[in-house]
C-alpha cells in the first residue's frame, strides 16, 4: 500500500483471535460487515479523483468501421476519451489464452464488449460523454449455438485458429463396451450468474515513478497484476495492487474488469480515477457459468454394476476463452461423477460463440456434468428397479479407486459413507396431518395453493470436485509472518495476497497463527502485491495452499525463536514449544515469556507452500498419473413439494453430508455448505441468464432471480473429517462441492414428485405444468 492510501482502503480488522484450529472464533471482519462499516471497493475515494466509464458494444457481433471521439472529448468536464490505439502495451489479455482485447479494435464479439473509455469530473458527465462517442458498426450475424460452433465449418472463425477453445477426449478401458441395461439422455443447463452483491469497482492512483497503484476488489491480485502490467506496457513492479473490500466473488472476479481500464485513465490524466459498474454493466462486465449441452449413455449389468459411461459435452465459452480450457478439463475428468466405471469415453468441447463470455464460477466445470450423470443414475435405478441410493453406493468410488484418467486416489474418498449418512438424516413431517402454514407450500405467501395438487418428492445427488489447480499448474501460495512485541504482548502479523471473498480466510489465517505461535493477537495485513503470489480464491484452494503457507511461515518463525531459547537455556529444541505467549519446555516447564525472548526484535519469515505436482492430460486419451491433487465429495438429499397444477416448487428441506478432511473452523464450514447449497438451489429452480440472439435479457436483480430466505429451507448438515494425508492439517476443500451436489438433488426430487423428465435446469413452471418443448 502506498503512503497516500485513499480513504476507506484500510479495514481495521480485529486482531484478537479467541480460538485456534478446529474452533470457531468470531470473524475479524464480521462485526464490521453486519454493522455496515466494512469498506467495499465501491467506497474508495480520493479527493481529486475522476470517474471512469466504459463504452460497450450494443451488438453481439459487428465490425467496427470507425470510432469518432471528437464530440465526446469536447464535452466540458471530460479529461480523457481513450480507444484501442491508446492501450500502452499489448492490447490483449486472458487467464489461460491471451485472446481478449482491452479495447476492441476492428471487431466486437459480444454484446457488452469494451470499446472506449471516458474519464470525467462526475460519473454523469462521463456517461453523457460516452453517448457522444460515435462508433460506426457493421452488424454481423452472431454465432449463438455452441454445438454448431464445434462442427459447422462454414461458420466464420471468431478467433484465429477457429471456434474450438479446447477439445478433450477421455478414454478408459474399452470405449465400445456394451451392457445389458442401457439408459441415455440429453441434458441442458442454462447460464448462471455469480450474483455477487458488490459490483466491480476500483481506484487507480498514478504514481511518481510512472507506475500505478490500484485499489480494487479481486480474487487474485498477482494474476491481475501480470495481465494489467502487460497491457500497460509496464514492468510488474510498477503496477502495485491493494485489495479493497470484496462483496462476493464466486469466480466472477477472476477475469479482468476495471483493472487495465482504470489504470489507463489514471496514467493518461495523471489523476486518481475511480470506476464502479452499475448492476446492468456488471452483468455485461463479468463472465458467467458455462451453459452446457450434454449427451450421456450409461450401461450396467442387471445387478446394477456400471459397465460403461459414454458422454459428449458442449460448453458455451462465449466470445473469449477465459476459463473455458479448465471447464473442459474439469468437465471431462469429473464427467462420470464419483463412481468407479471400468469403461469410459468422454468428449468435451469448449467453444467460442458470440454469447456473453463464460468463465469461472463456484464448482467450475463440475456443476454441469453432475446434472447429467446424477439424472442418469436415477434413470438407471429406475430401469433396474433399484433404489437410487443403492445404485450409487454400489458403484461409489473409494480410496484406492481409479478415475477415468487413470489416477489412483491415495486419500479417503468416502462416497458411499456420505450417501448412507445423508439418507439417514431426519426427514421433515408430512403435510397430511395438520393444515400447513401457507409459507411452507409452493408459492408461499403468494397464496397459490392450500395444499391441493401438491405432491412431495425426494431426490439425491452426490458429486466429485477437484480441489486446487490441476493438470500441471504450479499451484502455490506465499505467506509472510512477523512476530513482535506490541504493548508488552506478542503480536503476529500475517501478510499474504490471498483474497478474503467472504469465505472466512482471514479467520482461518488467524487461527493457524494462534495455534502455531501460541499468541492471541494476530493482525491480518492488507493484501497486496508487496508479498508473493497466493493465487486465486477459487477451486476451494485457499485454506489448503495459503493455510499451508501461513503454517510454513509460522513454523519458520517458531524455529528462529526456539533456536534462540534453546541456545540460551541449553535445552533441546525438540522439547520446546510455544503456548500462551510463553516458551515451554516439556522437560522443565515455562522457560520464558515471548516478550523477553523477542524484546525489540522483529522476527519475520516468508514461506511458500506448493502442493504435490500434477500432470497434464494426454491429448488423445486424457490419461494422467495425477491430473488433480485432491478430490472432495458431498451428498445432498432434497425434499420438495410441487404444485403440479401451477408448476411451482417449494424445497422443503435440503440436507447435506460432506467430507471436509479437517474442519479448520466448524462454523465457517457450515456457512460454506449453507451458502453453496443455496446457490445450487437457485440453479435448480430459478437462476438463468436469459440470452436471446447473443444478448442478455434479464441484466438486473429484478429479472435475474436468486433465492431469498423464503425460498431457502432448513438444512441438516452432517460434516465428517477424513483427513487427507497429503494436505496441511488434512484439509479438504469445502466451498465448491455443496454447490454441485445440491442442484441434481433438487431436480431429482422434482422428477420424483412429478414423473416429468426435466432435462433442462433450472426447472421452471413451464417444464412441470405442461410439456413445452425447449
Amino acid at each position: 500500500m502506498s503512503d497516500h492510501a485513499p480513504a476507506r482502503s484500510p479495514q481495521d480488522l480485529d486482531d484478537s483471535i479467541a480460538g485456534g484450529i478446529g474452533e470457531s472464533p468470531t470473524r475479524p471482519d464480521g462485526a464490521l460487515k453486519v454493522r455496515g462499516e466494512y469498506a467495499y471497493a465501491s467506497d474508495l475515494w480520493a479527493e481529486d479523483m475522476l470517474w471512469g466509464a466504459t463504452l460497450r458494444s450494443p451488438h453481439p457481433y459487428a465490425r467496427i468501421r470507425s470510432i469518432d471521439i471528437g464530440p465526446a472529448l469536447a464535452t466540458p468536464g471530460v479529461y480523457a476519451v481513450l480507444t484501442h490505439s491508446d492501450v500502452p502495451g499489448e492490447n490483449l489479455y486472458g487467464l489461460k489464452i491471451v485472446d481478449q482485447p482491452v479495447l476492441a479494435v476492428d471487431v466486437v464479439r459480444y454484446r457488452g464488449e469494451a470499446v472506449a473509455l471516458v474519464a470525467a469530473d462526475h460519473p454523469e458527465t462521463a456517461r453523457r460523454a460516452m453517448e457522444r462517442i460515435e462508433v460506426d458498426y457493421e452488424v454481423l450475424e452472431p454465432i449463438t449455438d455452441p454445438e454448431l460452433a464445434a462442427h459447422d465449418t462454414t461458420l466464420p472463425e471468431l478467433h484465429p485458429g477457429g471456434n474450438v477453445v479446447r477439445h478433450q477426449p477421455i478414454v478408459k478401458g474399452d470405449p465400445e463396451a456394451s451392457a445389458d441395461v442401457v439408459v441415455s439422455g440429453l441434458y441442458t443447463l442454462g447460464m448462471q450468474d455469480q450474483a455477487f452483491l458488490g459490483p466491480e469497482a476500483g481506484l487507480a492512483v498514478p504514481a511518481p515513478d510512472g507506475g500505478v497503484d490500484l485499489y480494487l476488489a479481486t480474487q487474485d491480485l498477482h494474476s491481475d497484476r501480470k495481465q494489467t502490467a502487460q497491457a500497460l506496457g509496464l514492468p510488474p513492479e510498477k503496477v502495485r495492487m491493494t485489495m479493497s473490500g470484496v462483496g462476493g466473488a464466486f469466480g466472477g472476479r477472476e477475469d479482468l474488469s476495471i483493472q487495465v481500464h482504470c489504470s489507463m485513465l489514471a496514467l493518461h490524466t495523471g489523476k486518481p480515477v475511480k470506476m464502479v459498474y452499475d448492476r446492468e454493466e456488471s452483468f455485461h462486465g463479468h463472465v458467467h457459468r458455462h451453459p452446457a449441452k450434454m449427451y450421456y449413455e450409461h450401461g450396467a449389468t442387471r445387478d446394477g454394476d456400471l459397465v460403461y459411461v459414454r458422454a459428449t459435452l458442449y460448453f458455451d465459452g462465449g466470445a473469449y476463452a477465459s476459463k473455458t480450457p479448465v471447464v473442459v478439463g474439469n468437465g471431462t475428468t469429473l464427467g462420470i461423477g464419483p463412481y468407479a466405471v471400468p469403461n469410459v469415453r468422454i468428449e468435451g468441447w469448449g467453444l467460442y460463440t458470440n454469447n456473453p463470455p463464460c468463465g469461472a464460477m463456484r464448482g467450475l466445470g463440475a456443476v454441469q456434468p453432475a446434472l447429467a450423470y446424477e439424472a442418469q443414475m436415477d434413470k438407471l435405478a429406475d430401469a433396474l428397479g433399484m433404489d437410487p441410493v443403492e445404485v450409487r453406493i454400489r458403484n461409489a468410488l473409494s480410496q484406492g479407486g481409479t478415475t477415468p484418467t487413470g489416477q489412483v486416489l491415495d486419500y479417503p474418498a468416502p462416497v458411499a459413507e456420505l450417501l448412507d449418512r445423508v439418507r439417514r438424516l431426519p426427514l421433515p413431517a408430512e403435510h397430511d396431518s395438520a393444515p400447513a402454514d401457507i409459507r411452507d407450500l409452493p408459492g408461499g405467501a403468494s397464496n397459490t395453493t392450500h395444499g391441493e395438487g401438491v405432491v412431495r418428492g425426494i431426490g439425491y445427488g452426490v458429486c466429485i470436485k477437484n480441489i486446487c489447480y490441476a493438470e500441471g499448474a504450479d499451484d502455490y501460495s506465499t505467506a509472510r509472518v512477523r512476530l513482535q512485541i506490541i504493548g508488552g504482548e506478542p503480536l503476529a502479523v500475517v501478510h499474504t495476497a490471498a483474497a478474503e471473498v467472504g469465505q472466512g480466510l482471514v479467520t482461518v489465517q488467524q487461527q493457524i497463527a494462534r495455534t502455531e505461535l501460541g499468541v492471541e493477537r494476530v493482525n491480518i495485513h492488507p493484501n497486496d502485491t508487496d508479498v508473493g503470489p497466493a493465487g486465486s480464491s477459487s477451486a476451494s484452494r485457499q485454506t489448503y495452499v495459503t493455510g499451508g503457507a501461513v503454517r510454513n511461515a509460522c513454523e519458520a518463525v517458531r524455529d528462529v525463536l526456539l533456536q534462540r531459547v534453546a541456545a540460551r537455556s541449553g535445552e533441546s529444541i525438540g522439547d520446546l514449544s510455544l503456548s500462551g505467549g510463553k516458551v515451554v519446555s516439556s522437560a522443565t516447564g515455562v522457560l520464558a515469556d515471548l516478550a523477553d525472548v523477542i524484546g525489540d526484535d522483529v522476527i519475520e519469515e516468508t514461506r511458500e507452500y506448493h502442493h504435490r505436482e500434477t500432470y497434464p492430460l494426454d491429448e488423445e486419451l486424457g490419461t494422467s498419473e495425477r491430473a488433480q491433487v485432491q478430490h472432495a465429495f458431498s451428498a445432498h438429499r432434497a425434499v420438495v413439494d410441487v404444485d403440479t397444477e401451477l408448476g411451482l416448487v417449494k424445497v422443503v428441506q435440503l440436507d447435506c453430508s460432506q467430507d471436509v478432511g479437517k474442519a479448520m473452523n466448524p462454523e465457517a464450514v457450515i456457512g460454506q455448505i449453507q451458502g453453496g447449497s443455496a446457490q445450487g438451489l437457485g440453479l435448480a429452480v430459478m437462476e438463468e441468464i436469459r440470452v436471446d440472439g447473443g444478448t442478455i435479457r434479464n441484466a438486473s436483480f429484478t429479472d435475474y432471480l436468486i433465492p431469498t430466505i423464503l425460498d431457502m429451507p432448513p438444512m441438516n448438515i452432517d460434516v465428517i473429517e477424513r483427513a487427507d494425508p497429503n494436505s496441511p492439517y488434512g484439509v479438504r476443500g469445502v466451498g465448491e462441492p455443496p454447490t454441485i451436489s445440491s442442484t441434481p438433488a433438487v431436480v431429482a426430487a422434482i422428477r420424483a414428485a412429478t414423473g416429468k423428465a426435466l432435462t433442462h435446469t433450472p426447472v421452471a413452471p413451464e417444464h412441470i405444468i405442461a410439456d413445452i418443448p425447449r
Binding site: 450494443p58 454523469e124 456517461r127 452499475d278 446492468e280 409459507r439 408459492g443 408461499g444 405467501a445 403468494s446 397464496n447 397459490t448 395453493t449 392450500h450 391441493e452 395438487g453 397444477e645 401451477l646 408448476g647 411451482l648 417449494k650 430459478m686 436469459r690 436471446d692 440472439g693 444478448t695 435479457r697 434479464n698 429484478t702 429479472d703 432471480l705 433465492p707 431469498t708 423464503l710 425460498d711 421452471a764 413452471p765 413451464e766 405444468i769 405442461a770 413445452i772
Partner: protein, 330 residues
C-alpha cells in the same frame, strides 16, 4: 439520464399546469418505476413535478358505502388499512404480493396504476420497440417472451402490464379520478388501461397533463370474500407470470355473481367478462369453474416462450374459484 428540472407541487392545479405546458414533463410519484426508466434512458423528461406532497394521502369511507383512496397513499399503507383488509382483501393481498417492503413503502396508488411494462426490449434502448418509439417494430415478437401477453396483443406489441394492485382494482370495478388541463373526470379502471392495437406507446387513455387524484372502491359486499393469487418464479419479489383477482357470490350452490380479473396475461389488467358471464347462474362446481376459465382463454394466442401461461392461468383461476366456493360453503 438526461438533465431535468425538478419541482415539488403543493397544489394539484399547479402540478397539472406545470406538466401540461411542457411536452417533456412528467409527474413523479414514489419513483419506483420512473427513476429506473430515467437511468435506463427509457424515459427522458425535462421536468419532473413531484406530486407526493399533494393532499391526496387519505383513505376515506364515502357516503354511498364505498372507499376513496388518495392517489399518493403508499402501497404499504393501503395494504395495511383495516377497512381494505376487511372489505376488499383481494386488494390488500395484491398489494402485499407486489415488489418488496422497501418498494411498497415508496410506491403510490396513482403511480402503481401507471407502471410500465417490464418487457426487456422496452427497457433496452438499443433494441427497436414500438412502445418506446412508435414505428420501430417489436423486438419481442420472435424474441424472449416468457413474461409476455397471451390475450389481446397486437402485431405491434405483446407486452404485459406488471401491476398486481391494478388487477385487484379491475376486479373490484374501481373508478379513477383524474384532473387534467381540461378539468376533472372519472374513468372506470377497466377503461383506464388500453390494449396495444396500433398505438402501443399509449398504456392508458390518459392525456398529457392528466393527474390521478384518487381511486374509488365501490361498495361491494361480495368483495369481503375475495382472493388474489399470484404465480411467480420465487416466493417473493418477482413479477407475476399469471395472477388472478376474484370474488364470488354463491347461494345454494349456485353462482350469483363473480368478479374476475387476470394479471400477467395482457397489455392491461384483464377483466374476465366471458368467464364471469359463464359463471352467473352456473353451479359452483369444479366443472363450471374449468369451463368458465377455458371460455375466457379460448382466444389466447401464446407466443414463442409463453404457451405455459394458458394452462397456468386456467389452473390458477379454477383454484381461486374453488377456494372461494369452498369458503362460501363453510
Amino acid at each position: 439520464m438526461i438533465p431535468f428540472d425538478y419541482q415539488r407541487a403543493d397544489r394539484a392545479d399547479g402540478a397539472v399546469a406545470a406538466v401540461g405546458v411542457r411536452p417533456a414533463a412528467a409527474f413523479l410519484g414514489g419513483g419506483t418505476n420512473l427513476v429506473d426508466h430515467l437511468k435506463l434512458g427509457v424515459a427522458e423528461p425535462e421536468l419532473l413535478v413531484d406530486v407526493t406532497r399533494l393532499p391526496f394521502d387519505g383513505i376515506d369511507t364515502l357516503p354511498d358505502g364505498g372507499v376513496r383512496v388518495g392517489a399518493t397513499v403508499r402501497n404499504s399503507d393501503l395494504a395495511a388499512e383495516a377497512i381494505v383488509r376487511q372489505r376488499y382483501p383481494v386488494l390488500s393481498q395484491a398489494l402485499l404480493s407486489g415488489a418488496s417492503g422497501q418498494l411498497r413503502n415508496l410506491a403510490t396508488t396513482g403511480g402503481n396504476l401507471l407502471q410500465r411494462t417490464r418487457c426487456p426490449y422496452f427497457q433496452d434502448v438499443t433494441t427497436p420497440c414500438n412502445k418506446r418509439e412508435p414505428g420501430q417494430g417489436c423486438s419481442a415478437r420472435g424474441g424472449y417472451t416468457r413474461y409476455h401477453a397471451i390475450l389481446g396483443a397486437s402485431e405491434h406489441c405483446v407486452a404485459t402490464h406488471p401491476s398486481d394492485m391494478a388487477v385487484a382494482l379491475t376486479a373490484l370495478d374501481a373508478t379513477v379520478h383524474v384532473t387534467g388541463p381540461n378539468g376533472q373526470r372519472d374513468i372506470p379502471v377497466t377503461e383506464l388501461h388500453r390494449l396495444p392495437g396500433d398505438e402501443p406507446h399509449r398504456d392508458t387513455v390518459l392525456e398529457h397533463g392528466d393527474l390521478i387524484t384518487a381511486v374509488d372502491l365501490p361498495e361491494l359486499p361480495m368483495a369481503a370474500r375475495s382472493r388474489y393469487r399470484k404465480v411467480r418464479d420465487r416466493a417473493s419479489y418477482a413479477f407475476a407470470l399469471v395472477s388472478v383477482a376474484a370474488a364470488l357470490d354463491v347461494e345454494d350452490g349456485t353462482v350469483r355473481e363473480a368478479r374476475i380479473a387476470l394479471g400477467g396475461v395482457a397489455h392491461k389488467p384483464w377483466r374476465a367478462n366471458t368467464a364471469e358471464q359463464a359463471l352467473r347462474g352456473a353451479p359452483a362446481t369444479e366443472q363450471s369453474f374449468r369451463e368458465a376459465a377455458e371460455a375466457e382463454l379460448a382466444e389466447a394466442q401464446p407466443v414463442r416462450d409463453n404457451a405455459f401461461k394458458v394452462p397456468m392461468a386456467r389452473n390458477t383461476l379454477v383454484a381461486t374459484l374453488r377456494d372461494l366456493a369452498g369458503e362460501e360453503a363453510r
